[in-house]
Chain length 316, copies 2
């Protein structure tokens, strides 16, 4: 028994790019694409589409921009039914940099937004939908959203946007299962004609658990990353999700193989996962920024001092 509607999106390269400024080797991206394709994953998010006039190519690797040529060269020759997506940030992309879908290697455009920018997100997502893409709106920092503003945004998304999916994004890894349950039900109440998506962070080792909770509550689009890679504590581990889902089209083995070959060596060079400073920012419902800064200092493992500094922050 399984729910055929459930779609899995791998965002290894896109979310993982937040720890290395999107400087993945082409071969790494290619191996990930091979693995998710062979595993039957529905979508792979290959990076951001930012405009070069807004974000500098001197500061970020190519997967911050996802030029069509780079994508085509990287996936060339690999047999795949996996669709490709890019994420666009409100304010960081010009519409002219999103080609008509028929001229692009991309199938889906996901618009990342805060609640306050929902009008801009709708403008952007409708442009992408009109160009022929599948589309989503991903509401970030959901654990900080004011109830009345979130309700208004969801009502607007239902009425005014052409997005196929609206995501819950637990940017701070602050949600517990009860809040996940509450939010999925709220989304479903407002979004009668759209699917609900879940993007969970792993600060408190709840990324996978909250994703399962969302599935139980009727969410049909779920994100994961291989070996949980992603900024700070990382994401719901794709391997656990694929191990859980019952649809026979999924095959865990290619994911296990790419973890052994690519992710284990990479984890020696860059850091992500369950580390106490990220657990603490999750508990405080804070951006992991301060924890990320801490990990670059000699105090990286002084958790008590970090906890005290978070507690002491002047909130007035």
């Amino acid at each position: 028994m399984y729910r055929e509607e459930i779609k899995v999106l791998d965002c290894t390269i896109r979310d993982g790019g937040l720890i290395n400024n999107h400087y993945f080797e082409d071969n790494f991206v290619r191996e990930v694409y091979k693995a998710v394709s062979a595993a039957g994953v529905d979508y792979m998010e290959i990076g951001y589409r930012c405009s070069r006039g807004i974000m500098s190519p001197d500061e970020f690797g190519k997967w911050k921009f996802c030029d069509e040529d780079d994508i085509r060269r990287t996936i060339d020759g690999i047999e795949s039914d996996t669709k490709l997506s890019v994420m666009v940030d409100v304010g960081r992309v010009k519409k002219e940099d999103i080609l008509p879908c028929e001229d692009s290697a991309i199938d889906m455009v996901r618009v990342a937004t805060y609640v306050k920018d929902v009008d801009k997100a709708i403008d952007l997502v409708n442009d992408a939908a009109d160009k022929g893409y599948e589309t989503t709106v991903n509401i970030m920092a959901i654990s900080r959203a004011l109830e009345n503003e979130l309700d208004a945004a969801l009502a607007q998304l239902e009425q005014e946007s052409k997005a196929d999916v609206v995501y819950i994004v637990d940017s701070f890894g602050a949600l517990y299962s009860e809040s996940t349950h509450y939010l999925v039900n709220k989304y479903k109440k407002f979004l009668k004609t759209k699917e609900v998506g879940m993007h969970a962070h792993n600060n408190q080792q709840l990324g996978y658990a909250n994703t399962i909770q969302a599935i139980i509550d009727g969410c049909n689009f779920v994100d994961g990353t291989i070996y949980g890679i992603g900024r700070a504590a990382g994401n719901c581990p794709l391997e656990l999700l694929i191990g859980f889902l019952k649809n026979p089209k999924f095959d865990l083995r290619p994911i296990l193989e790419v973890i052994s070959k690519e992710l284990i060596p990479l984890r020696e060079k860059i850091e992500w996962g369950y580390l106490l400073p990220y657990a603490i920012t999750g508990m405080f419902n804070e951006h992991p920024r301060a924890a990320m800064a801490l990990r670059k200092t000699e105090d990286r493992d002084n958790y008590l001092k970090f906890f005290e500094s978070m507690s002491a922050e002047g909130i007035d």
Copy 2:
């Protein structure tokens, strides 16, 4: 708002001892006791009580036996309201090695058993209860229990045992939240006069999530270990549990401090936590034994080969 009845038991030394044959330095045990005492943790399980005629002191460290003198010396002078428990395994302890409670440093005796040995467990737990201890029965490998046998065991425990608490023990880290919910409700149906306990393993990063699920469903005794230490994938991390529970008596800070000072250096020497071979045995609902063996070979990170070997095991 919180549920005052919820009791937290730290089993850092007892479950952690399964990775180092119970050879913890006295100072480490002392620092853990200090930390859990200062954190307001209700119980600390300091090890096993095994009988020397049955288990050899040449093969195991002192926390496999928990001699009264060793306990008293280790906790001497530390201010604490934390009660001490030991675990006893059916078949590995003689009743004569459990003193009357009034002559012991121990407050609680926890009997670990498989469903099939429930009669022996009842015999042992009633002896401990008669000697004045608080008592629990911990049913191991619950994800492998046959429904009819588990039902009969729970009915027997309710009618014949003097145990205060009966635990769900997810030895293989195989439970999902729905199964946790199902089992807590089953336990509550049979155990009208006893509390339900939860001891979760972390193979699939669900140790903490399943513990929260159990609390939601009415379980009032929950186990954790500091930094999740424990055999193979380890346990529900105590720091997350203490961060979650609302009772003002709990203080996370001493736990953070002992992680920095003691657990981070220890993790450099011995291995536990989220590692793919343990995730795989969890998915297969298997003992982590084969994965533990794998981690000592050159194939330690060949996850695909390990997965194939698990799939291929002759089940007839």
